[in-house]
């Protein structure tokens, strides 16, 4: 090792605290890059493999009922590579030992194993056998949650009849990577499952001989990106059979959530490291400027002895390179393990046959490279000024800084009221412009990360509140198999423990406004409905008008409608007529694209007196009543789905809130690293620069705590300014994120309570105080006499 390297090593050892602070910022930046990048690659690769393995459909068309023989022309459409039809129904599930009825989706599969579109991957047991008709393959997660195994019997209500089915296997499928039941916002494997039954058995129990109600298809590769045209033609061909909805892969719920997550990861992989590495580069710049300044004479001497500019530059660069390489390495390791953690979390959210955390050499190398690059960039600027000096100049002490009055001093009435301590603090802040700028920027980024993180949490809490406390207020929601009359309501009202029952009616339809069309549905409610209450933007309840629609803002945007406009509504079931209907109110909400109307009005639209397709219940929540109600419901065959608000909220709390706590923890730690690292750096550099000045104060009788208080005031001011500036940035980040995640299924609210900002400030101050502890320790240990005697 050359002597200069020895010098470097000693330089580094004497400022290890600072190195650690900066390295940790870089480490976090690189770790984020590697972690998000790995998670992105893990999910993308798993998705690609899985979709290929299951022959994931490029589109699906849901219909009322179509003879399979009529599907041949669709298969022959140019651009359609293959089709398959299946029978798909919702069903309730009764399990031994589970008090409430559960929900599920029943799908048909060929009796004999053959590769099909939207195939399954068996996880345990086997495929259907010839031994019995009533065999079922259960989706793996539901089976595991309820400890179901091949050989068990379960009960499904199929076509109003309770059927006993024999479990032959458990499986997963690429269509249900993210399995959401109707009305759910997160997967709930405890209460929602997928059940595959034999094609012939399905035709039999649903009276669907030679018919199907869902068409799945593959497209020619060149059409996958823009399937619109071909799907329109297919839909037109099939329209006599009552097309409910045509769903290209991009709109398929599971795919959409998964793709959104993947896109989000890619954005985070760029965005978060950029924040951290920019801060790191700035902080490093401050440190190296100081280091080079401090070693001015050494630089001059080395040059005088005959070291070339590049040699001297490389000497300082090594300092930065060491930080860059160390930060890069630690970041890669930490990133790899973070990705592994994320992978575990994703295995809980997404259901893949296999989701592994891989080591991506390219990604790690890039992470390393970025880290080194950031360190180099951060150091070039800082050292250049000193390095370009001629040796003779460098060896002379730096000319005294222009110690002119800072702007504030001209505000006489203000300045004269300040104590000398405050004056020193303010002068120091204003004069070391670069350091202050770096500190403000770092604090701003730290605060932005905190605010954005807290706002995410608030958004989730608000959304759950909005959805499950304000809009959906029923304890239990029943979806009926078929439309019924008013008698169904009376029947439901008589169930044990029911305090209030309100009817609902769901009508599938197409909304048309000029060139804009959209398939969807209208929910009929009574005009005095209390169990589903749409709300407007200001969170005020909206009364259901006796005529016309209350439309969700998202759908209104898609259709380019505003309050007072009219829209064409074409019903799909029943008399397929078209009506012109006014949009009376716009409702806000974060899930789906609901449209509400008065149930009587809606019934008349579809040509009936009063139709009921669901009932909402407010119940007595006493355990014994609930148990009785569940027992009764389990016995009712006419139900398609039963949803319990309490269960939904519980499952949200269990998964979402748990994830959220981890998320908060990470955000706070990451932001803390930024705050801590930059504050520590600024204070220690300032301390080193002003050793003489502060030593003089010591001689004048200042104690270490008083000196410390000068430093603390300085860092608090810088931190607070940065934090306040960072808050709107955090807010804007959240707005950007909300835009990015804005979809028909899901939008997330931009809400920020004072708590978000108060917490951010409190944390910023806390980080500043913790960093100051280290600074204070340094102050206590300083040898003032030596500082005074040493020549600058």
């Amino acid at each position: 090792m050359s002597v200069l390297d020895r010098k470097l090593r000693r330089d580094m050892m004497s400022s290890w605290v600072l190195l650690l602070a900066i390295t940790s910022i870089i480490t976090v930046g690189v770790a984020e890059y590697v972690a998000f990048g790995s998670a992105y690659a893990n999910l993308t690769e798993a998705k690609r493999r899985y979709y290929a393995q299951c022959r994931m459909a490029d589109f699906s068309i849901d219909l009322k009922k179509v003879p399979t023989a009529e599907l041949a022309p669709v298969a022959e459409l140019p651009g359609v590579a293959a089709v398959r039809s299946r029978i798909r129904f919702n069903a309730t599930v009764a399990l031994e030992g589970v008090p409430r009825p559960l929900n599920g989706m029943v799908l048909s599969l060929p009796d004999r194993r053959e590769p099909v579109i939207d195939d399954i991957v068996l996880r345990s047991g086997g495929y259907f056998t010839d031994r019995r008709q009533n065999e079922v393959i259960v989706n793996d997660r539901f089976a595991r949650t309820h400890n179901l195994q091949p050989g068990d019997w379960i009960h499904l209500v199929l076509n109003n009849r309770r059927q006993e089915l024999f479990v032959v296997g458990t499986a997963v499928s690429s269509e249900f990577v993210y399995l959401l039941g109707p009305g759910a916002i997160i997967p709930d494997p405890e209460h929602y499952g997928v059940f595959y039954i034999k094609q012939t058995y399905a035709e039999d129990v649903f009276d669907f001989d030679g018919a199907a109600n869902q068409l799945l298809g593959l497209l020619a590769p060149e059409l996958r990106e823009r399937p619109g045209g071909v799907l329109q033609r297919a839909e037109r061909m099939l329209s006599p059979y009552g097309v409910f909805i045509t769903t290209p892969l991009v709109d398929q719920a599971s795919n959409k959530y998964l793709s959104q997550e993947i896109d989000g990861l890619r954005m985070f992989a760029v965005f978060m490291p950029t924040i951290f590495l920019t801060v790191a580069a700035l902080v490093l710049n401050v440190l190296l400027s100081r280091l080079a300044e401090q070693q001015r004479t050494v630089v001059g001497t080395l040059k005088a002895i005959g070291y070339s500019d590049p040699q001297v530059f490389f000497h300082f660069l090594k300092f930065a390179l060491a930080i860059g390489i160390l930060g890069g390495l630690l970041g890669c390791v930490l990133g790899y393990y973070l990705a592994a953690l994320m992978n575990i979390a994703y295995r809980g959210t997404f259901e893949f046959p296999e989701l592994n955390n891989h080591f991506y050499l390219g990604l790690h190398s890039t992470g390393m490279l970025i880290s080194v690059l950031c360190a180099v960039l951060g150091s070039i600027h800082g050292t250049r000024a000193v390095l370009k000096l001629r040796p003779a100049e460098a060896m002379r002490p730096k000319p005294p800084r222009q110690g002119g009055a800072v702007l504030l001093e001209h505000v006489g009435w203000f300045w004269t009221r300040l104590s000398s301590g405050w004056r020193m603090v303010l002068r120091s802040i204003v004069r070391s412009r670069m350091r202050t700028a770096a500190g403000v920027f770092a604090a701003a980024m730290g605060a932005a990360v905190l605010v954005a993180g807290f706002m995410m949490i608030e958004a989730t809490v608000y959304l759950i509140d909005f959805q499950f406390r304000w809009i959906q207020r029923s304890d239990i929601e029943l979806t009926l198999k078929d439309e019924r009359g008013i008698d169904a309501l009376a029947e439901a009202a008589r169930l044990p423990g029911v305090d209030r029952a309100e009817p609902t009616l769901n009508v599938a339809c197409t909304f048309i406004n000029g060139l804009h069309r959209k398939k969807g549905g209208i929910t009929g409610l009574t005009h005095d409905a209390r169990l589903t209450v749409p709300h407007d933007r200001a969170a005020r309840p909206i009364r259901i008008p006796s005529a016309g629609l209350v439309m969700s803002r998202k759908l209104a945007e898609i259709l380019h409608l505003k309050r007072g406009d009219t829209v064409l509504v074409q019903t799909i079931k029943g008399l397929r007529r078209t009506y012109r209907v006014p949009v009376v109110e716009i409702a806000d909400g974060y899930l789906g694209t609901a449209v509400y109307a008065d149930i009587n009005y809606l019934s008349r639209l579809i040509g009936e007196e009063l139709a009921v397709s669901g009932v909402q219940l407010a119940t007595d929540r006493k355990a014994k009543h609930t148990a009785a109600l569940w027992r009764e419901l389990k016995r009712l065959p006419a139900l398609e789905a039963v949803n319990s608000r309490a269960d939904m909220i519980e499952s949200i709390n269990e998964t979402l809130i748990k994830h959220m706590n981890i998320f908060i923890g990470m955000i706070v730690i990451f932001a803390g690293v930024i705050f801590f690292g930059s504050i520590l750096n600024a204070s220690l550099v300032s301390l080193a620069e002003r050793t003489r000045e502060l030593a003089t104060l010591r001689v004048l009788g200042y104690g270490p705590w008083q000196i410390g208080s000068l430093m603390l005031r300085e860092s608090l001011i810088v931190t607070l300014i940065g934090t306040v500036l960072g808050m709107p940035i955090g807010y804007m980040l959240t707005v950007g994120m909300a835009r990015m995640y804005d979809s028909e299924m899901f939008r997330f609210p931009v809400v920020s309570s004072p708590g978000t900002y108060i917490w951010t400030i409190m944390l910023a101050v806390a980080f500043a105080l913790v960093a100051h502890l280290v600074v204070q320790r340094t102050i206590h240990r300083m040898d003032w006499l030596e500082a005074l005697q040493a020549k600058e």
């Binding site: 004497s14 050494v298 001497t301 005088a304 005959g306 070339s308 001629r390 040796p391 060896m395």
Partner: protein
């Protein structure tokens, strides 16, 4: 004033009508004005003059540490004022040994390591311990500058300059911070280097008592050469006193 031209082969360095102006904001400080001077191969040259007269400035220019504002500097047959920065670096590395007025040791390197800083650069270095022996500090070679007295530090700086075996030694007040006897020892060393190894030596001092040991004495005042005095019979350092 123009000196008598000596045999060009013996001229190591030549300054011709050199001006040096320091710009400090609005203020221009003229440190050198119209300085012409020859440094001969193998001579022991002493520069004296009051503080601020431009001694260090000349030494910096001669050592390739600073540029001139006007005029020319020649190193042997080559025009130094036209040197690129890498030529300057090469010149400093291969030809010059600098002993600074304020020692300029690297604080977190030991005495020995400070000497190595220059030997590592040189193609034909002296042994580090030998160099330290020359200045009588081989015993202290593991000590850091902060553990050495001013004089000892100066001796390390001398060892550092010697160790890379330069043809030209530039010494800025090497004895300024030393006591009488140590100062004399340093001077003896320099004289030996000059007489025995043929090193060209330029030594700055404001102490005119030292002047008699030189072959020639240059006197500066206010940035100008006011006198060049040949000294056919230099006095050994032991015989001078101050």
């Amino acid at each position: 004033m123009i000196e008598t031209i000596v045999n060009a082969d013996h001229v190591l360095l030549r300054l011709e009508h050199v001006d040096k102006v320091f710009q400090m904001g609005q203020l221009a400080v003229k440190a050198l004005s119209d300085v012409s001077l020859t440094i001969r191969q193998g001579e022991f040259l002493v520069m004296t003059g009051p503080s601020g007269s431009g001694k260090s400035t000349i030494l910096n220019i001669v050592g390739g540490l600073d540029s001139v504002t006007a005029g020319e500097v020649w190193f042997r047959q080559r025009r130094m004022t036209a040197f690129t920065s890498s030529e300057l670096t090469r010149y400093r590395r291969d030809t010059v040994g600098f002993i600074f007025q304020f020692y300029n040791l690297v604080p977190n390197l030991s005495a020995e390591e400070n000497v190595m800083v220059s030997t590592e650069l040189s193609s034909d270095p002296m042994d580090v311990v030998e160099a330290l022996q020359l200045v009588g500090l081989d015993e202290r070679r593991h000590h850091f500058p902060s553990q050495l007295s001013g004089g000892e530090q100066q001796r390390v700086a001398i060892a550092r300059a010697l160790a890379k075996n330069p043809a030209l030694l530039l010494c800025d007040e090497p004895t300024g911070a030393l006591d009488f006897s140590t100062g004399k020892r340093v001077l003896r060393m320099l004289v030996d280097l000059n007489r025995q190894l043929g090193k060209t030596i330029v030594l700055i001092t404001h102490n005119s008592a030292i002047a008699p040991i030189a072959d020639r004495v240059v006197r500066l005042r206010s940035g100008q050469v006011v006198e060049i005095h040949d000294n056919p019979e230099p006095v050994p350092p032991e015989e001078i006193t101050w």
